[in-house]
C-alpha cells in the first residue's frame, strides 16, 4: 500500500495530506484523552501500535505470486475506535519513510489516508455492524481486521488510479489495473491478518470469549 516517494503528483500529495491532517490531529486529541481517563489502557494502546509495527514489516507471499504486507491497524481500531490509529499508523509510516525509503514524505498524506484512516474506519464499522448482527467477538474481530486490511489496499488502488488514469479506460480502468496488483494479492494476506488479530487479541486480554473482553482491553473495566 506504500506509494513511493515522488510518485504522486504534487497536487495529489497536497490533497491527501490535507485530507489526512484533521484525522491525525483528532486522533492525537483522542489518544491524550484515553491516556488521561483510562491509565489502564496505556499498555494496550502501546501493544496496538506494536502490532502495527510488526505486521507492516512482514512482507508475505501471496497466491498471486507476489508479496505484500498486512497493516495490523484493525486491532487498535476495534479496541479504541479508529481515531487513534491515525496517529499510531503515522508513526509506523514515518519510520518506514525515513529509515527504509519505503513510502515517502511527499506521499505520507496519501499513505496515512489508506493505512491509518480508511483501513481503521472500515475495521471499526465492520466491528460495529458484526456486533449488531449478533456475531461473536472473535468472528467480528476477524472480519474487522481482514476487511480493514483490504480497504487499505483498495484505497491505494483508487489513489493511484486518480493520479494515473488509463488513457483508454480512464480512472475506472486504472482502478481495475492497480486493484489487480494490490487488492487481489492482499486477499489471502487479509485473511491471515484476521487470524493473527484474533490470536493477539486473545493473548493480550487473557480472557478469550469473555463478554467484556474488548472493554477490558480498552481499560474500561477491570
Amino acid at each position: 500500500m506504500h506509494i513511493m516517494e515522488g510518485f504522486l503528483p504534487p497536487l495529489h500529495c497536497l490533497g491527501w495530506a490535507g485530507a489526512s491532517a484533521p484525522f491525525v490531529v483528532a486522533g492525537a486529541i483522542r489518544l491524550k484523552a484515553i491516556v488521561r481517563e483510562r491509565p489502564r489502557a496505556k499498555m494496550t494502546l502501546a501493544a496496538a501500535g506494536a502490532f502495527t509495527f510488526v505486521l507492516s514489516a512482514l512482507k508475505m507471499p501471496s497466491v498471486t505470486g507476489s508479496c505484500s504486507h498486512p497493516t495490523g491497524t484493525g486491532l487498535g481500531a476495534v479496541v479504541f475506535g479508529p481515531a487513534v490509529m491515525a496517529v499510531l499508523g503515522t508513526i509506523v509510516l514515518l519510520f518506514q519513510a525515513l529509515l527504509l525509503a519505503h513510502g515517502g514524505l511527499t506521499t505520507l498524506g496519501a499513505n496515512i489516508f489508506s493505512m491509518a484512516i480508511a483501513g481503521p474506519w472500515v475495521s471499526w464499522a465492520i466491528w460495529r455492524l458484526a456486533g449488531t448482527l449478533g456475531a461473536g467477538t472473535a468472528v467480528a474481530v476477524f472480519l474487522a481486521a481482514a476487511l480493514g486490511d483490504l480497504a487499505t489496499y483498495a484505497t491505494t488502488s483508487v489513489q493511484l488510479a486518480l493520479a494515473y488514469p488509463d488513457p483508454v479506460s480512464g480512472v475506472l480502468g486504472a482502478m481495475v489495473k492497480f486493484g489487480g496488483i494490490y487488492a487481489v494479492t492482499q486477499i489471502p494476506l487479509a485473511i491471515a491478518e484476521g487470524f493473527l488479530t484474533v490470536v493477539v487479541m486473545n493473548a493480550l486480554s487473557g480472557r478469550a470469549d469473555a463478554a467484556d473482553e474488548i472493554r477490558s482491553l480498552a481499560g474500561e473495566v477491570k
Partner: protein, 97 residues
C-alpha cells in the same frame, strides 16, 4: 481451554495460508513486492516518468534494508510479547505460587 486450542489452529491456518504459495507447485511466482509492482505499473504506463522527489536517505544495500525491516518487526514483537507476558504473569503464575 477451547479458545486456547483455537489460537493454535488459527496460527497453523496462518502458516498454511502464507506457506502455500511457496510450497504448492503452480502457485508460485517471482514474489516481488506489490508496492514495487505498483511503481513499475506507473512507469510502464508513463515511460520516462521521473519521481519529482527522492527519499532523503536510502539504506545503502539490501542487507541494511532487511536489517532495518527486522528491527521494525523485532521492536514490535518484543514489546507485544512484553505486554502479553506481563499480563499473564499477573494473572496466572503469581496466583499459582
Amino acid at each position: 481451554m477451547m479458545t486456547k486450542h483455537r489460537s493454535w489452529w488459527l496460527i497453523a491456518a496462518t502458516i498454511a495460508l502464507v506457506g502455500a504459495p511457496l510450497a504448492v507447485p503452480g502457485l508460485g511466482g517471482a514474489f516481488k513486492g506489490s508496492d514495487d509492482m505498483g511503481t513499475e505499473a506507473i512507469i510502464a504506463a508513463h515511460p520516462g516518468y521521473q519521481p519529482w522527489f527522492q527519499p532523503i536517505w536510502k539504506p545503502p544495500s539490501a542487507e541494511v534494508e532487511s536489517l532495518l525491516f527486522c528491527v521494525q518487526a523485532a521492536l514490535g514483537a518484543g514489546f507485544l510479547g512484553y505486554v502479553i507476558g506481563r499480563r499473564h504473569a499477573g494473572r496466572n503464575d503469581v496466583a499459582g505460587r
